[in-house]
Assembly symmetry: C2
Homo-oligomer: 119 residues x 2
């Protein structure tokens, strides 16, 4: 069988309340991942596209964070209301959802404008 | 900043003892992921390569399972003793570790010889 055509990782990290880096899933319910999984199944994509729970993806100031491989497209501040758009436009349609996409300048940097200053 | 050059996802799933699909991390200690993280840091790769905890990657009969993106290389039955070889040969050297690699025929299928029969 082929590999997953798309593999979506959804951060489910928690930090203590008040932590400046925040939490992607403060309720620890995995609601975002479960909704991706359900909507993929509804579209008959189970086994071809996987929505995976993940640990901290380290883009916390832009969370809840989602990354889609193999194309390495990063999304930030993803809500339950965004799931169908990501699936229909990107996963099925092949066109990234630009309004949610994280700029390369915000990835893997300590100096992004969205990161709290270390002091 | 650039995206991660490599993004390694290490399954940390648990199932009840005796479940035929097994558990990738029955002790729930994340030891495999932590060792990847430490060895990457030792090699100065922090920020360029990330070792991420993940939920079930659905290749359970071949667990503990690891997948490396963006190249979508899957490894099965990975032990602590394999971590340095994967990092040095594959992540740094660019050559996949064939002895651990999962065949496409074993990925995402209900009929692989390693899957327990459903009865």
């Amino acid at each position: 069988m082929p590999k997953f055509e798309k593999h979506i990782f959804i951060c489910g990290n928690q930090r203590p309340p008040g932590n400046p880096r925040g939490s992607c899933d403060p309720e620890a319910q995995g609601r975002l991942q479960k909704l991706f999984k359900q909507k993929l199944s509804d579209r008959g994509l189970k086994g071809r596209v996987r929505a995976n729970q993940s640990g901290c993806l380290d883009q916390c100031e832009h969370g809840p964070t989602v990354v889609v491989y193999p194309e390495a497209v990063w999304y930030g501040r993803v809500t339950l209301d965004d799931v169908e758009e990501i699936i229909d436009q990107h996963i099925v349609g092949g066109k990234q959802v630009e309004r949610l996409q994280l700029a390369d300048s915000c990835l893997n940097t300590a100096t992004c404008e969205h990161r709290p200053a270390k002091g």
